[in-house]
């Protein structure tokens, strides 16, 4: 079983980080994983996305051109990626920032009020964790526990103090569905 996931949004929304957390969690569960950021122009701003592949066997291509799971954090990402996913794909949409109209009817769209929920939790930056929590619940691709266990590996050198907040956000997202 191989899952091909794309996470996409603005720079600054923690897209890359959440992709890494997802990969780490999947690794903890014994999977093969790859994570590849579309690092784009050598500059700030603009859109930002990354591909995560999770599989039970060796992963040949780390590039995802037709995702089966999509996490969309802002409107431009939806415009760009919705059309690319395979029929039957699961599409998680941060509808704090994205209008709800799905353009395709052969996919399953899930709406998560991630940014607003994050705001309520006191930090707009943890919208990414809300999304991941929801992902765990919706797809079962990784367990919530794995995400939580993966946290220290990924945040270690960075904002360790924020781990608790992030875990809370994961749970919140998980609880939304």
């Amino acid at each position: 079983m191989t899952n091909k996931i794309i996470l996409a949004g603005f720079g600054g929304q923690g897209i890359i980080l959440s992709g890494l957390l997802l990969a780490q969690a999947a690794l903890l569960e014994g999977n093969e994983v790859t994570h590849y950021p579309a690092y784009g122009a050598e500059m700030r701003g603009g859109t930002c996305n990354c591909s995560v592949v999770i599989s039970d066997k060796e992963i040949s291509s780390p590039i995802v051109n037709k995702p089966d799971i999509l996490l969309l954090f802002n409107q431009p990402s939806k415009n760009k990626f919705e059309a690319k996913c395979i029929p039957g794909a699961k599409v998680l949409i941060n509808n704090s920032l994205i209008n709800e109209q799905a353009l395709r009817n052969d996919i399953s769209s899930f709406y998560i009020d991630a940014t607003n929920t994050a705001n309520k939790l006191g930090n707009i930056k943890i919208a990414n964790m809300i999304m991941l929590g929801a992902l765990s619940k919706i797809t079962g691709i990784v367990k919530l526990d794995s995400l939580i266990n993966a946290m220290p590996e990924i945040l270690s050198a960075r904002n360790k103090k924020l781990i608790d907040l992030n875990v809370q956000a994961l749970k919140e997202g998980y609880g939304l569905f």
């Binding site: 122009a41 050598e42 500059m43 700030r44 701003g45 603009g46």
Partner: protein
Amino acid sequence: MITGKILYKRPKTLKDVNMSYCPGCSHSLMNKILCEIIDEFDIQKKTVVIAPVGCAVLLYDYIDCDSVEAAHGRAPAIATGIKRVNPDNIVISYQGDGDLLSIGMAETIHTANRGENITVVFMNNAVYGMTGGQMAPTTLVGQITKTTPSGRNPENEGYPIRACELINTLEAPYFIARCKVTNSKSIMQTKKILKKAIGYQINKKGYSFIEILSNCPTNWGMKPKDSNKWIQEVMSKYYPVKIFRDKGEA
């Protein structure tokens, strides 16, 4: 529609597009100022801006003048090639501190030393912006960057280089100044100085070197306002804002 006399509007030479610089970045500001000056001299059609490798690499997407995109650090050499072929065009070499003072040190000094009749705009933001915040030759002692994780240590990395002072040891340059753009007042002063420099070029006076103490809110990890405050309070202590040489006044 709003009407009335326009007190300030976007300069004509600045294209009507979003500049991809980060919010509050001095690059945006100086691109705008350059365009204002080009408009005021009415030299849009004869100006050539050399885009450096650095955050300003897409300069030509914002400034509506002929442009050549240089290899990293070589803008002054390219400017030399252009100016020697077309002495009547106005050639502006716009460069960051990594570009101008690190990899391009030799070209910077030799172009200044030949006294090429060009204008160099030197964006000193004490960091490599485009590549994500590594140490620049102008990074201050103690400043933390991606490649000085415990702060710049002069024992290992040496001291920040003062470009104006360095170039001021050469005979040929006509005009050398260091400016800042931390508020509207200093922006106005800077514009005056840069306009003077370009005026000198128009009048075939020779080489000008205008250093701008610039911010990089993104890589400094500061809000734009705080970054300008840091320039004001820290950076300009090490890099004094002043006119180093003005042969036109001498």
